[in-house]
């Protein structure tokens, strides 16, 4: 009787003990949409990914709210872009219940490009934070994040690295498929401009360089005088393609198109809408296809 009761007790207790052994799954905070996709693909079902700012807010104009700051207290680690696109996170963490929470600098060891326009103040010390808009710099970040998460959760370290590698491979395939459609490389006279200073990393993947950026600062519309200067510049440099912004449309973009005789190709900044695991792949595919279309339609 006693023995069977003990066996029953053990049978009930064992699964619970096993669960306790594996530890509580990590709760990982992220600041921007691409990082939600990165971390979700790395951790799969072994951890929980929590956005610091709710869907629907523009990270360019976000001001921390009390309930968002409070949520940081429930997290184990925060994954940061760290080079200028989520500076709000530092203030939120400092004001939270866990000011000393572990953070992961995704862009550590990623070759960064200098910022352009007004943001370039400080003799090139300010960098372009949009490393998430290129496949190469994304894979570098995914590898970094997986490595650092593995240090915090050694039991799953190998799982994270394998997932990161598989995800990297899928992303590489996206890029390869896009490039395969470009049967002939763009000529040296193919010049592009962008509205938002966000796509330097993306066009580097294609061997292109951004000739001009229309916005004087990130998310700031140009004044009429600045607009005229930009249009003159685009004409002088014979820029034929301009990459505009899909998620944040502006009326003045049409003026540029009309006056400078350029063709517009909208790209997405991947910082709008719901947070989903496949968002990055879906939207990046669209971006790559758009760049390919721009190259094909404007061959000299």
């Amino acid at each position: 009787m006693f023995r069977s009761a003990l066996a029953l007790l053990l049978a009930i207790a064992l699964p619970a003990m096993a669960l306790a052994d594996s530890g509580k799954p990590l709760r990982i905070g992220i600041t921007l949409h691409p990082y939600y996709s990165y971390v979700s693909n790395i951790v799969a079902d072994k951890a929980e990914v929590v956005p610091l700012i709710p869907a629907g807010f523009n990270p360019h104009a976000y001001e921390p709210r009390a309930e968002d700051i409070k949520r940081i207290g429930t997290l184990d680690v925060v994954v940061l872009n760290g080079v200028g696109h989520d500076d709000f996170a530092d203030r939120m963490i400092a004001a939270s219940e866990k000011p000393g929470i572990a953070t992961i600098e995704s862009n550590q060891n990623v070759p960064l490009l200098a910022a352009t326009g007004i943001a370039a103040r400080g003799a090139g010390k300010v960098v372009n934070p949009h490393t998430f808009l290129s496949i190469s710099t994304t894979i570098a970040q995914v590898n970094n994040i997986a490595r650092e998460l593995g240090k915090l959760d050694p039991a799953n370290a190998k799982f994270y690295t394998q997932n990161a590698r598989a995800y990297g491979k899928r992303l590489r395939t996206l890029r390869a498929e896009a490039l395969a459609k470009v049967t002939e490389a763009p000529s040296a006279t193919f010049r592009v401009a962008t509205i938002h200073a966000a796509y330097d990393y993306l066009v580097r993947d294609f061997g292109l360089e951004v000739t001009a950026v229309v916005e004087p600062a990130h998310g700031i519309e140009p004044s009429p005088a600045q607009l005229k200067k930009t249009i003159d510049q685009l004409k002088a440099l014979d820029v034929r393609v301009i990459f505009s912004e899909m998620d944040f449309p502006s009326a003045y973009v049409e003026t540029i198109q009309r006056e400078a005789g350029v063709r517009l190709y909208p790209l997405t900044h991947i910082s709008y809408g719901e947070y989903t695991k496949d968002k990055y792949e879906v939207e990046m595919k669209r971006n790559l296809d758009t760049v390919v279309r721009a190259i094909q339609e404007n061959r000299a």
């Binding site: 940061l80 600098e105 010390k125 890029r175 490039l179 395969a180 061997g207």
Partner: protein, 189 residues
Amino acid sequence: MSRAQVIRPAGAGHETLYVLLVSVLIVLLAAGVVALRGEREDEQAIERHQLDARRDLTAAEQGLYTDLRVAFDEIQMLREERQAAPGVQALAEDGLPPFVDDAGSQSRGNHQWTWLQAGAYLGRSQAPDIAGSLLLILPAGNDGQPDIWLRRDSSHLPPDDLGQAALIAAGWRQVVSHYDAGVTREHRH
């Protein structure tokens, strides 16, 4: 009886002096604030034989350099699995830039990659004015860092010696990048 009363001339001598003193004080105060709270001079100095990836490379070279750094992570993993460095052909079949031949590689100098037995991948540029030739030297172990070198002349000679002094003497320059997050951030972690 008249009393002599001294009335000072209405000259602005003293006032000028006081205004001048206050101005000097303000300037000193401002200088003090700037000295104490001004932007730190944290520019990373690089050696004469080095190139800064952010400032000294062309757009094509920047793209290639990033691809090489990313490829290095994959090469290290393949090396661990196979106990040998993967060949250029295998990397190209894996679709790993910059080893794969596509529109991207063609517009960035059309590099021809070869494996050097000494332990490096050499990419000979076909258009040195767009991007120089590149050399990725693998570390001896599995946990080292990549060592990437560049030369812009059209010499196609593979280096005989992968030692730093020999590479510098042969005209190669080491590409370095540094992570300086946070000029826009208030707190550093």
